[in-house]
């Protein structure tokens, strides 16, 4: 069994929430208290063992306590219960450019920030050019940092951080900065760090990054361990839970949103609902089969009525409008009451919240019986996919081939 790099043993951390943030002298002296406060356990009885060379992801919703746990390991916060032992040189990266002084030049800040992060001056000097090159700041390195754009600022902070070279690296979310090319280079550095046998603890909301970088994963829910195990299993379970929670939230709005009042000719829309691969739902993944069901009722049979279902994106623009007479031709006679279903074999939409507009009108005269605007939100997730945008269209790539050598290695 490999040596343990970090041992977290029954760790709990309590915070005080003050009702009045600033305590005055009078309160401190007269009331002999530092103001009234409530205690709340941000982390409760968490235990994890991290062997040297492993990389552990920590996921959870905002405020679940994952950053608090990381800060305890870093030694910024001190746990109220339990103990944490760390073997090896530890560096924590909770913020890039911590302690930068705006009036100092980039070069001066490299020395300052490096010293704060615990790098010896001699070493900083030896990798200075490398840091500047990595940050792509050759021309600006002697300008004051306050003149930097936020991208330049972050790149500089990050370039120092990737030269930390510790045995154990704690990273909190900071990877989500910079442009895509820079992010990719940072991920390369993290992979290289892992390849060198470094131990990594990685807190992130970006589940795909967690999946890409980590072997094991800890899911923290309201300060407590919810699940600990292989990264794929934990991320999948977490994602399923997030979808479930979202669905109950979406369903709670459902009843209020469908207006069942009768329109012309007494036509009502009684329900609008969705089903996915596993039955009724309002949360789907891109590519899942989707059925939109519209329940209606009218005083008389609907002769020659056209149902139109329009999908509306988050920006309020229609993406796709599907009228029934596209599919059916000639006379369409519908009973007085029933459910109309639109079936999409695979939802083409990408990440986002979508709604539908339902319209019932007469095919011949265009007279509108009933219309519901932008009802029934449903959520589509596509975070496993690389495509970005509103809808997924079928595509293939054709790339040129290397003819002379098989590979660059």
């Amino acid at each position: 069994m490999p040596d343990l790099a970090i041992e977290i043993n029954d760790v709990s951390k309590r915070f005080r929430i003050y009702h009045q943030r600033s305590v005055t002298l009078k309160q401190a002296l007269v009331e002999r208290s530092r103001g009234r406060y409530e205690e709340f356990w941000a982390v409760r009885d968490v235990s994890v063992e991290i062997p040297a060379g492993e990389s552990l992801g920590i996921i959870g919703e905002n405020g679940s306590g994952k950053s608090t746990l990381l800060k305890c390991v870093a030694g910024i916060l001190i746990q109220d219960k339990g103990n944490i032992s760390v073997r090896g040189r530890l560096a924590s990266l909770l913020e890039v450019g911590a302690g930068f002084h705006p009036d100092f030049s980039g070069r001066e800040n490299i020395y300052l920030n490096g010293a704060i992060l615990g790098l010896p001056r001699r070493y900083i000097k030896s990798v200075l050019d490398e840091i500047v090159a990595f940050a792509e700041l050759e021309q600006f390195i002697d300008n004051p940092v306050r003149t930097y754009s936020s991208g330049m600022y972050t790149r500089l902070g990050f370039s120092i951080a990737v030269h930390l070279d510790p045995d154990i690296l704690l990273v909190d979310e900071v990877l989500a900065v910079g442009d895509e090319a820079f992010q990719r280079r940072c991920m390369e550095r993290i992979h290289a760090f892992r390849a060198d046998g470094g131990t990594l603890v990685f807190v992130s909301h970006a589940l795909d990054s967690v999946r890409a970088v980590c072997e094991r994963c800890l899911w923290i829910d309201r300060g407590e361990e919810r699940m600990l195990g292989g990264v794929d299993a934990v991320v999948d379970a977490y994602r399923a839970e997030v979808n479930r929670r979202e669905q109950t939230e979406l369903q709670m709005t459902e009843a209020a949103e469908v207006d069942t009042a009768p329109g012309r000719m007494g036509v009502r829309i009684t329900s609008v609902g969705y089903s996915g691969p596993d039955g009724p739902t309002s949360v789907l993944n891109t590519g899942d089969p989707l059925t939109v069901s519209v329940g209606y009722r009218s005083l008389e049979p609907l002769d020659g009525a056209r149902f139109t279902i329009t999908f509306i994106g988050e920006n309020g623009l229609p993406i796709l409008s599907v009228p029934t007479d596209d599919l059916e031709t000639g006379d369409v006679a519908l009973p007085r009451e029933g459910v109309v279903r639109l079936v999409l074999p695979g939802v083409p939409f990408l990440e986002g919240l979508y709604r539908v507009t339902v319209d019932i009108s007469d095919i011949a005269t265009g007279e509108q019986y009933k219309r519901l605007e932008r009802v029934q939100p449903f959520r589509v997730h596509s975070s496993d996919r690389r495509e970005v945008g509103m809808a997924l269209l079928g595509h293939t790539w054709e790339l040129p081939k290397v003819t002379s050598r098989a590979s660059h290695r």
């Binding site: 030694g75 910024i76 100092f104 615990g118 290289a192």
Partner: protein
């Protein structure tokens, strides 16, 4: 897991590892970086820059010597009110600046304390060291006035090293308590401002020790004034500075100075203990 073939070739070669400097060496380097930052950030952006370090005590010295020497006819021993006032005032300015900067040292670096674990005590140490640097610069002010008053210094200048060390230790010890306390109690800043003002008047900076001896020789008030002045560790430091720069002699009040040394050492010990205790919740409260 990402396969290693995707990594750039460069990263597959063993990278040079950061040398493992001893914690003491890295701490010293960090301290020097922090001092550099504290000193320079004080001057950047102001037109006069270092000039303020000289101008501030200069103007106070002129005001005090006009008010007390010219209008109130206080007799300053040694023949030169300027050198007399300046020698005590510079020491006092070092002390009070160090206290004020130290008080602010942790709260002013809240962003750092919340995000990076390093020996936060160095923030306070560096603020006091930055005040020491300012003090060293402000000593230049003494040269022209000592030349004007035909004064010189001999071997007793060596005693100034001890006096500076005592002032440094005293302000660091108190500063550590104040810096840690200020995180939790934001009223402390006003108390420090008020406290240093009162403390200034119970230290023989702008009035000579002989005046205290003659004017407050008897009665309850006299006794009270004596007690306050005697238990004030800065009294003996300031008198020492006056001995060195006004009289060119070794400090005369060795007993008092011994008391100040002991007081400052105790204050460092207490300061470190209080700081260590209170820093546990710095990152939450700051």
């Amino acid at each position: 897991m990402a396969s290693t073939e995707l990594l750039p070739e460069r990263s597959l070669q063993p990278r040079p590892r950061a040398p493992h400097a001893g914690p003491l060496a890295t701490r010293f380097e960090l301290l020097s970086e922090l001092v550099r930052r504290d000193v320079r950030s004080r001057y950047r952006g102001s037109v006069l820059g270092v000039g303020w370090t000289l101008l501030n005590p200069l103007i106070f010295m002129i005001v005090y010597s006009l008010v007390f020497g010219k209008f109130l006819h206080v007799h300053y021993p040694g023949g030169s009110p300027t050198v007399f006032i300046l020698s005590g005032l510079l020491a006092w300015t070092f002390f009070s600046q160090a206290l004020i900067m130290a008080t602010n040292s942790v709260v002013a670096n809240a962003g750092l304390v919340k995000k990076v674990a390093f020996p936060w005590v160095l923030l306070t140490v560096s603020s006091v060291l930055a005040a020491l640097v300012n003090f060293a610069i402000s000593l230049l002010l003494l040269i022209p006035f000592m030349l004007l008053a035909h004064k010189g210094v001999g071997p007793p200048i060596l005693a100034a090293v001890l006096l500076v060390a005592v002032t440094f230790a005293l302000s660091l010890g108190l500063g550590l308590v104040l810096a840690a306390g200020y995180v939790y109690l934001r009223d402390l800043q006003y108390l420090v401002n008020l406290g240093t003002l009162i403390w200034f008047y119970v230290t023989p900076v702008i009035y000579p020790w002989s005046l205290v001896q003659s004017k407050f020789s008897h009665g309850f008030e006299g006794a009270a004034a004596h007690v306050v002045l005697y238990i004030n560790p800065m009294t003996w430091v300031v008198l020492g500075f006056q001995d060195v720069f006004v009289y060119d002699r070794w400090p005369q009040h060795w007993h008092g100075l011994g008391y100040s040394v002991a007081f400052s050492l105790v204050s460092i010990w207490v300061g470190l203990r209080v700081f260590r205790r209170l820093r546990r919740r710095f990152a939450e409260e700051v």
